[in-house]
């Protein structure tokens, strides 16, 4: 169908360079195509292609230029919390709009949403909020960490020095022991952890103080 053809076109563009596909991504012969045009100069060297060239219809194939398809492969890094929010909102929306839509093509979306939510819900991001994330990033400004390292600290919420050493490259050279301690303190204080665990920890602390 059209959907599959579209994916084929996406994949073909990625891999094989300029290749002639019709607007539905299928290799069709001249007899089937309603509009016959020759490709622009980029493709005429390969073979005459009977297809509709992109949306502008000016004879030059806009669809097949890879840069058009993927403008920026790394436009932004997303934290687990942002993806968690996005998926929960989407789930809510779909629930509210009811089952009136055909679920034939939606199965993939349902599967990936369910599995991803299941995975992300087990990470510390489920206790986070936009305010805590903002606070955390502001607090991290002084520590001179790269974007990727801050993202990992945000996603994993490390509690031991060993975990910090894993996530921060060359941590022995860049951070002293006190700095690692202060980093752990910041992470523990700003990013909320499991409320049950925190209650247990604070209960143990008061017990310890009491016994002294």
């Amino acid at each position: 169908g059209a959907g599959w053809g579209g994916i084929v076109r996406l994949l073909l563009v990625r891999a094989a360079g300029p290749r002639c596909v019709c607007v539905w991504g299928l290799f069709i012969g001249p007899a089937l195509c309603v509009e016959k045009r020759l490709c622009g100069p980029e493709l005429s060297a390969l073979l005459p292609c009977w297809h509709r060239c992109g949306v502008q219809g000016d004879g030059v194939c806009h669809v097949l230029r890879p840069s058009v398809l993927r403008k920026d492969a790394n436009a932004a890094l997303l934290s687990n919390f942002e993806v968690f929010q996005l998926l929960t909102d989407l789930k809510q929306q779909r629930k509210e709009s009811g089952k009136s839509k055909q679920s034939s093509g939606q199965q993939n979306l349902n599967t990936i949403m369910y599995e991803t939510l299941k995975y992300i819900s087990k990470t510390p991001c489920r206790y986070q909020s936009p305010e805590t994330v903002r606070e955390f990033l502001i607090a991290m400004k002084g520590h001179k960490l790269t974007k990727a390292e801050k993202l990992q600290l945000l996603n994993h919420r490390p509690v031991t020095a060993v975990e910090i050493q894993l996530m921060v490259e060359e941590s022995e050279e860049r951070l002293t022991e006190e700095q690692i301690e202060s980093l752990l303190q910041t992470v523990a204080s700003i990013l909320p952890g499991d409320p049950e665990e925190q209650q247990r920890d604070s209960a143990m602390e008061t017990e310890g103080r009491g016994s002294q």
Binding site: V8, L10, V23, N74, A76, L77, I112, Q152
Partner: protein, 209 residues
């Protein structure tokens, strides 16, 4: 773990969906096309983030559907190099330990990356790590279902799109191979998180999360 990728595509809306809002139809079509699919050299697509630009819709002769060029951003699973992730051991084989994170299963720890000395126990089909301490040798079994922390070392994209008519002669000879080999379009090669430490308890924190 997740990145935002800006993409462009032409979406076809069939005439019986013209009564719906264009944005909704387009969002649904894009999700139908890309969700849970691997795009070559990009990653595993999760869901649509937003639509940045909608160009004019065209109707071509002979087809009643409208075609709209859409610029949009999609949430894609594409961990960066050296990223730390947590997953569950799914199975062990001679090629290494297979780890899964629920929505993505093609993660493999090759035997060389397992902390040496490691050996494959044929009877139980698990990899075992013989850890020596002063007290004696401990066998740490990499059992199925155990949570494990790993670091991304390499990624491989394989183009699994069907070959076109121009390579018809080549495909007939490779037809049997292609039918048998079902390659994963996106594989992650990872390594266990190993750093030199002192006590066994710290190892267990690292290893067993």
């Amino acid at each position: 773990m997740f990145v935002l990728v800006e993409m462009t595509d032409t979406v076809r809306i069939p005439p019986w969906q013209f009564e719906r809002k264009l944005n909704e139809s387009i969002a649904e079509e894009l999700n139908k096309k890309l969700a849970n699919k691997v795009v070559y050299n990009v990653g595993l697509c999760i869901c649509l983030y937003d639509i940045t630009k909608l160009e004019d819709s065209y109707i071509f002769p002979g087809d009643g559907a409208s075609h709209t060029k859409v610029h949009f951003r999609y949430v894609v699973f594409h961990p960066f190099l050296d990223e730390i992730l947590v997953g569950e051991i799914k199975s062990c084989s001679q090629d290494g330990v297979h780890v899964s994170i629920g929505f993505f299963d093609d993660i493999v720890i090759p035997p060389e990356s397992l902390q040496q000395p490691a050996k494959f126990d044929e009877a139980e089909q698990v990899w075992v790590w013989e850890y020596e301490t002063e007290e004696g040798a401990h066998d740490l079994y990499m059992d199925i279902g155990e949570e494990i922390r790993f670091r991304v070392v390499d990624e491989t994209f394989v183009d699994t799109s069907p070959t076109g008519p121009s390579s018809a002669e080549a495909s007939t000879s490779n037809a049997t191979e292609e039918v048998q080999k079902k390659e994963a379009p996106y594989t992650l090669v990872v390594t266990m998180c190993i750093i030199p430490i002192v006590s066994q308890s710290q190892w267990l924190i690292l290893f067993l999360k």
